[in-house]
Symmetry: C2
Subunit: 158 residues, 2 copies
């Protein structure tokens, strides 16, 4: 399938929240997002990988302005579970390669990850959809990541 | 924003691969997907949450028929890193709530996760996009998950 990356996007106004080592049992994810929905906090990317030893980590991004509210609404939740640790990072950028035919995206993913590796940029989170591959990286590398992904996929610098 | 979940989809022909406790440094994700691209393995969902202690976990799904090839191509990679553990699961289903306006999806996410919790179904992986929220669950719960998500979002059972 001809991989067609048509553009690169960069978001720098979001913050990352992770709930690490939380119980990996039914109902936990529901409690987290019920709290956020009550506070009307907009959530963008949500990722959860597979857990281990009955513990898991859920990471998500929120508008940087809502970071304080998010932290406050989740702190009491973590203490009721008696497990877990909240970590936050507002110095992130979300860089995305956008295009069609991402479905078979091992090739596109490899290309994007190689571009970031070449620039020595560490990938903190990964999320994919049919039309997009997104990486959370340090905010200070945002523009550089855009440039290098542009050149790797031979997009005209606009 | 009126959340508009228009449907539920279920995939039962994929398998989940996780590379747990791999080095969290630039270049690692690139190596994984270069191997898979060389073998022309189609990758669907890719998720990576935030790491800890310089280690991270990348999970992704491949067609169940490619599981053996995937495992073989990554085993030698893990031994060159001297860190990490490959786990596989071909008894998974990917259930997704599909709709527009997912952007502010704390409400939709909470609804979907609550539905799965009510049925006692554990969520192994989570991935979101503008139009979809996907959960990897045990294959045996696939149909039940579809039914309960249908009823929670008041979709006509079709
Ligand atoms: C960790 C969390 O996702 C849990 N597995 C749940 O089902 O809610
Ligand atoms: C774990 C892996 O994603 C690593 N952080 C990388 O940049 O490749």
């Amino acid at each position: 399938e001809k991989l067609l990356v048509t553009g690169v996007s960069l978001k720098k106004d979001e913050a990352r929240v992770s709930l690490a080592d939380i119980p990996d049992r039914p109902g936990i994810a529901a409690e987290v997002f019920e709290r956020l929905a009550e506070k009307k906090i907009n959530v963008d990317v949500i990722v959860q990988s597979t857990g281990k030893n009955n513990l898991n980590t859920i990471s998500f991004t929120v508008p940087a302005k809502d970071l304080k509210d998010t932290e406050e609404s989740l702190t009491s939740l973590v203490s009721t579970w008696g497990a877990g640790e909240i970590t936050l990072d507002d110095k992130i950028a979300i860089v995305s390669a956008v295009g069609i035919g991402m479905k078979s995206h091992a090739g596109v993913a490899a290309g994007m990850f190689k571009a970031l590796a070449k620039a020595g940029i560490n990938i903190h989170m990964i999320s994919t959809s049919e039309i997009k591959i997104s990486c959370v990286i340090d905010k200070e590398h945002g523009e550089e990541a855009m440039r290098i992904i542009h050149s790797v996929f031979e997009l005209d610098a606009n």
